[in-house]
Symmetry: C2
Subunit: 336 residues, 2 copies
């Protein structure tokens, strides 16, 4: 391995000069610099970032923690993070937590030892002392998490508004019995979406009926099981607002299995607008959140915080509804 010392010898200068020439820092003679650069090239010199960072400087590395990269929501988010990281010449470490707080703690500890410059934390994680400890002093931007951690910034979509938009859309279509297959109670995004749903109902003078609300995990299975549970309650409904798109897909499968036509007999709305939503047939009506932008903003905030002192505490991005083919006007003809 060729070091800065070898280059110095080859160029007939001191290592200090080589360092300066390579980093464009300080005053180095024109000719000298050329000589050094040539020597470096000739020897195939490769700077060692480890040694550089050892001086307490930044490592030029940030990390993103997601529950599961195969959940189609996260690659889009990660792409946004990656984009900004690359633009700032930073490398991106990817970690998966499986929504497990203990795993997250382990990963964070590992990241700290590697001296990452900061972390984008995505998704819910059970709070714990160890988690707080693992996060302490580490520049963190959370995405879609409750801001339990002290000074950490948060980037999120307006989930409550999204819940309202979805529900209002169904109400406008004439639906009066609107079920909600919501996400896990411990996740604030699920709660917010639910609150928006409830708000919209009440504002429209429709009753909030707890027996039309079921909870499930943010995956297909959660939606599938949720819809089956709803059916078992024998409470009629003509529309379902699902906690996210994957749940909506599960709900669509369940409806298919029980022989209910979408959107003729039951309308379905999702949340997120992952790419997948537009691939489906019928195309899924859903609340669009700017997933990639979420990642971009988080990364920008994270990287910016290392540079600027002042930073906004958090950011809330707007959402809107995308009408596709899983929602239709309520047909007065009886349905159960």
């Amino acid at each position: 391995m060729v070091t800065i010392r070898d280059v110095a010898a080859e160029a007939g200068v001191s290592i200090t000069t080589v360092s300066r020439a390579l980093n464009e820092s300080g005053r180095v003679g024109r000719a000298t610099r050329e000589r050094v650069l040539n020597a470096a090239r000739r020897l195939g010199y490769e700077p060692n970032d480890l040694a550089r960072s050892l001086h307490g400087k930044a490592t030029g590395t940030i990390a993103v923690l997601v529950p599961d990269i195969t959940n189609p929501f996260f690659p889009e988010l990660v792409k946004g993070v990656q984009e900004v990281a690359t633009a700032h010449q930073k490398l991106l470490l990817l970690c998966q937590t499986s929504e497990d707080s203990e795993i997250a703690v382990q990963e964070l500890l590992h990241l700290r030892r590697k001296r990452v410059d900061g972390v984008v934390l995505v998704g819910g994680l059970a709070a714990s002392e160890q988690l707080d400890a693992a996060l302490a002093g580490l520049p963190v931007v959370a995405v879609d998490r409750d801001t339990t951690v002290d000074g950490s910034r948060v980037v999120r979509s307006d989930h409550r508004r999204g819940g309202r938009l979805a529900t209002e859309h169904l109400i406008e279509l004439g639906h009066e019995h609107i079920a909600h297959v919501r996400g896990p109670a411990h996740l604030s995004v699920a709660q917010d979406r639910h609150d928006g749903y409830r708000e919209a109902l009440e504002e429209a003078g429709l009753p909030y009926d707890a027996s039309l609300v079921v909870e499930g995990g943010f995956l297909e299975e959660g939606g599938y099981d949720g819809l089956r549970a709803l059916r078992r309650r024998r409470r009629p409904f003509t529309a379902v607002f699902c906690g996210n798109d994957l749940m909506a897909i599960g709900a669509l499968r369940a409806l298919e299995d029980v022989g209910l036509a979408v959107p003729d007999e039951v309308s379905v709305v999702g949340f997120d607008d992952i790419h997948l939503a537009s691939y489906l047939r019928p195309g899924l009506t859903t609340v669009h959140q700017p997933i990639q932008t979420l990642g971009r903003r988080a990364a920008a905030l994270l990287i910016g915080s290392a540079m600027n002192d002042e930073q906004p505490a958090s950011e809330v991005l707007d959402v809107h509804i995308v009408r596709r083919q899983t929602t239709a006007r309520h047909r007065r003809t009886e349905v159960r």
Copy 2:
């Protein structure tokens, strides 16, 4: 920042002893170790992996380069890589190349400076001197790439066999005019799948008709455009084998747009069996390749190579067909 020296002072021993106690390396007295560990805990000591790696040891970091993490094929692969990396206590750097060889070169150079222990290289990349240079001496395992690089190992599925299986499946269903919307000519996986298609046809005594073969990018658009191009040629066909699942999705949309029913009028087969394939309605019949395992094997080979000297040159994983709802028996009733 508390260093090993502070811990040494606190515990009343030398830094060497601290180092040994922390790394379980060498002989350290029971009591001494306890004392050191306690001191470290009390001070909130966090080892600095940078300094450790500076000694020329491994950095405990590997990287995976993929064209685009939002392409659903890659998250599954990355997950496999991640799994093995984590099992070996290694952190994973994620890079995206956009299939651009120059970007890949830049990323690789950056990774080298960071002294990553190895790289999993996924997808096709235009060969170039600079790429070779950027790869030189770096432990690399390629996935689904031609093994142009010198000593690099390759993990891949049996694409040729997959192409045969897909085609044979259609032949068994009675189809005689089978089109192929293939992937890019410069990608070996596309070529292999095509060769398998051709082989199956010829073995069945069916003519290989070049006017039934079109080329496109490995995305929905490629499949959509490919199918439209096929139609413009006015050559009848009752089945299409698509280069991958995304292309198949594009082809399905195109068929929908021109009013051809799937599978009643045209059968469609994809390749990869990404999760998405089973979400679709009708469910996509496709050639399953073990995507996650591909990633796992690549990572295992990469990490193993740093430890064992001997390693298999490459690995070929098996594929099989998954029958869903986009393929059906050819109906003799005329169709165009």
